[in-house]
């Protein structure tokens, strides 16, 4: 029997999002229902939100807002696009979007990896708190706004105000950056950064496909860590 044969299937054409999420929340740590397929999502919100189990959930289609919100341990794959706030406040696990992500992808995420095959829109990684985000396409404006910890790796371009008001998150962008936000500057790509970048790319399944030397690193100038009147413009 293959993995696919063992998959639990939930068809949202007949089941409700509430039923799906309750089934996922009821999974114990030793469950053998480790593979789930969700059919006909049709852009519904909060799909697989609040999962706390090491299972794989595949969503066949487009998801709405907060897909895999606050995910713990699970691997969630979306075969389509996602709306606002995918994997918001994720704690661990992997969320993989095969299409594009809307605004605030990975917002406040604290652990695990968010991988986006397409583009992410504005505010990707806003207020990031330790997770790793890899975007194969481009990210929109205000990405990594107030990003505190974690990494954002962008193979494409970044929009305006990248890293505005950033704390200690590490940003790596291969394409062009339309503009840097307050207190965000380009920083040297030292060996340890290359190693970190290589590590994230490897986790994203891109090892050997992408040259780390092609990236530029961005981070905090740390001028806003203590209020000073001469920086008042930046607040």
């Amino acid at each position: 029997m293959t993995q696919a044969d063992l998959a639990r299937v939930c068809d949202l054409a007949t089941a409700s999002v509430r039923e799906l999420n309750q089934m996922l929340h009821d999974l114990g740590p030793d469950t053998n229902a480790t593979h789930w397929q969700v059919l006909n999502p049709r852009g519904r919100h909060s799909l697989a939100a609040g999962v706390d189990a090491a299972v794989t959930i595949e969503i066949d289609g487009h998801a709405g807002y907060y897909c895999a919100g606050m995910n713990k341990l699970a691997t969630v794959v979306v075969h389509g696009n996602v709306g606002v706030g995918v994997a918001e406040n994720m704690m661990s696990g992997l969320v993989h979007v095969r299409g594009d992500a809307s605004q605030a992808a990975g917002a406040t995420a604290r652990g695990g990896m968010l991988l986006i095959d397409g583009n992410a829109a504005a505010r990707c990684g806003i207020s990031l708190k330790g997770a790793d985000i890899v975007v194969k396409g481009s990210v929109g404006h205000m990405s990594a706004f107030m990003a505190q910890a974690g990494t954002l790796v962008v193979l494409g371009d970044a929009g305006d105000s990248l890293g505005d008001s950033i704390y200690e998150a590490h940003l790596y962008v291969r394409g062009t950056v339309a503009g840097l936000g307050a207190d965000c500057i380009e920083k040297p790509l030292a060996d340890r950064h290359r190693a970190e970048l290589h590590n994230k790319l490897q986790q994203a399944g891109l090892a050997g496909q992408v040259d780390v030397a092609a990236f530029r690193r961005y981070g905090s100038a740390r001028q806003l860590y203590h209020f000073h009147v001469d920086h008042a413009d930046a607040y």
Binding site: S46, G50, D52, R110, R123, K129, Y225, H226, Y235
Partner: protein, 445 residues
């Protein structure tokens, strides 16, 4: 001697000593004045309202023998497990970080003895608070510091914070001296830096998207817990209506007297409306939507005694929340510490530089030595005593108005002493039939 009669020196009401000192301070430092607590200026408030006790036309209940109920259920609209409180007074959100761990523990202990809830703040849930609070409301703030789904699942209710009374439209603030290692760890920040906080939520803006966010929080917690929406008092009629439309089980409105750990003084004093002015518009919004008493209303901002509790309930609130008052009960601004307040350049009763983290009472500090001065068990006892007194006071007043339960209080039990208070509270000016400003239209714009 033919001396010209001298006039005494005259201060300007506009450029009074406080204003002059503030201008000098701004010129010297180039930074706005930051402080804690709520609006300090005189405002129309509960003091301007009086109860109409029983007489020939209305009969009182016997004190102590005839019961006056105080229990309240919050979150009956959608949650499977509403929050049951023994008294209609809760402890408002105050962060671990702005307060010491000892203070949070004391608040939890006291609230649990009294049978009511505490609320986390802008830093996440601390183990002390969850352990010691029988009922804990978990805040979801724009910063999302320490946000953890396990804490959502451990909480008894969830409060989405749109704003607070001291600074509607502003975000959290914690200066470096209070960003200790432990606080920094919980908030994922470098220790010792000034925390910058967002004023908008990162993943939603506006009531249409708040509705989707509220649903997500319900989904994550399997629709078990009530979802509160907390607002700073600004446009309470519209904001209450929108909170209801976004799916709130409970609406919390915090007036400008509501305290903060730290924000700009001008923000505290000049943005937001008095608590008294926020209650009737919020109630009217609930009534017009047909959800009054199904969506509960909690009022905070300058609640100090049982009379305030009774008045807020009479105006239509289901419960009140206290912040500053709870800290005072724990020992904040105690005259016994006057020598130390003097060394800080202030005096007992006026100390509000809570952002500096040097609180001699050990409440609004992260300094381990200072924080150790607060005995959480004793503090808890003091808070429980204070809550008991407030409850007894409210019951006394309610019985005098002929009520067997606090929720029986109504606006017609009140009159106002001033035209402003009468207009804001929507009650008659004492001795008259006049309620100023009763055109039935939306408040504000």
């Amino acid at each position: 001697m033919d001396a010209t009669p001298a006039t005494p020196p005259r201060f300007s009401a506009t450029f009074d000593p406080h204003v002059l000192a503030e201008i000098r301070r701004a010129a010297a430092t180039g930074i706005y004045d930051i402080r804690g607590a709520g609006a300090k200026r005189r405002l129309p408030h509960f003091d301007d309202l009086l109860f109409l006790g029983a007489s020939i036309s209305r009969y009182p209940l016997e004190g102590y023998r005839e019961r006056c109920g105080t229990d309240v259920l919050l979150g009956t609209r959608f949650a499977k497990r509403p929050v049951a409180l023994k008294i209609p007074i809760t402890i408002a959100g105050m962060s671990f970080g702005s307060l010491s761990a000892q203070a949070k523990e004391a608040l939890g202990r006291g609230a649990s003895i009294a049978g009511t809830s505490t609320t986390t703040g802008d830093g996440g849930m601390s183990p002390e608070e969850r352990t010691h609070s029988r009922t804990l409301v978990y805040q979801v703030l724009p910063s999302r510091y320490g946000m953890d789904p396990d804490d959502l699942r451990r909480a008894d209710a969830i409060e989405v914070v749109v704003g607070q009374g001291a600074k509607p439209g502003g975000g959290g603030m914690l200066l470096g001296q209070k960003v200790s290692e432990r606080v920094a760890g919980m908030r994922t920040l470098p220790a010792g830096i000034d925390q910058r906080s967002a004023c908008r939520h990162p993943d939603w803006t506006g009531p249409d998207d708040l509705q989707i966010k509220v649903e997500e929080l319900r989904e994550i917690t399997d629709w078990q817990k009530p979802i509160y929406v907390k607002l700073g008092a600004s446009r309470p009629y519209y904001d209450t209506a929108l909170a209801v439309k976004a799916g709130a089980d409970v609406v919390v409105i915090d007036g400008m007297q509501g305290g903060t750990a730290a924000t700009q003084d001008v923000f505290i004093e000049n943005v937001g409306i008095p608590t008294l002015a926020a209650i009737r518009p919020a109630v009217r919004a609930l009534e017009e939507l047909g959800v009054y008493r199904q969506v509960q209303l909690v009022i905070s901002g300058g609640v100090r005694n049982g009379a305030d509790v009774a008045k807020a309930l009479a105006l239509g609130a289901d419960a009140v929340s206290i912040g500053t008052a709870a800290l005072v009960a724990l020992g904040d601004n105690d005259p016994a510490l006057e020598a130390e307040y003097r060394r800080l350049g202030t005096t007992a009763g006026a100390y509000d530089d809570w952002h500096e983290g040097r609180d001699p009472a050990g409440i609004t500090t992260q300094d381990p030595e200072l924080a150790a001065r607060l005995d959480p068990v004793l503090g808890g006892r003091r808070l429980a005593n204070y809550l008991a007194v407030m409850t007894l006071e409210a019951q006394t007043i309610a019985r005098a108005c002929g009520k067997s339960h606090l929720r029986g209080l109504e606006p017609e039990d009140l009159v106002a002493l001033t035209v402003e208070a009468a207009a804001m509270a929507g009650v008659k000016l004492a001795g008259t039939d006049w309620i100023p400003g009763t055109k039935r239209s939306g408040d504000g714009d």
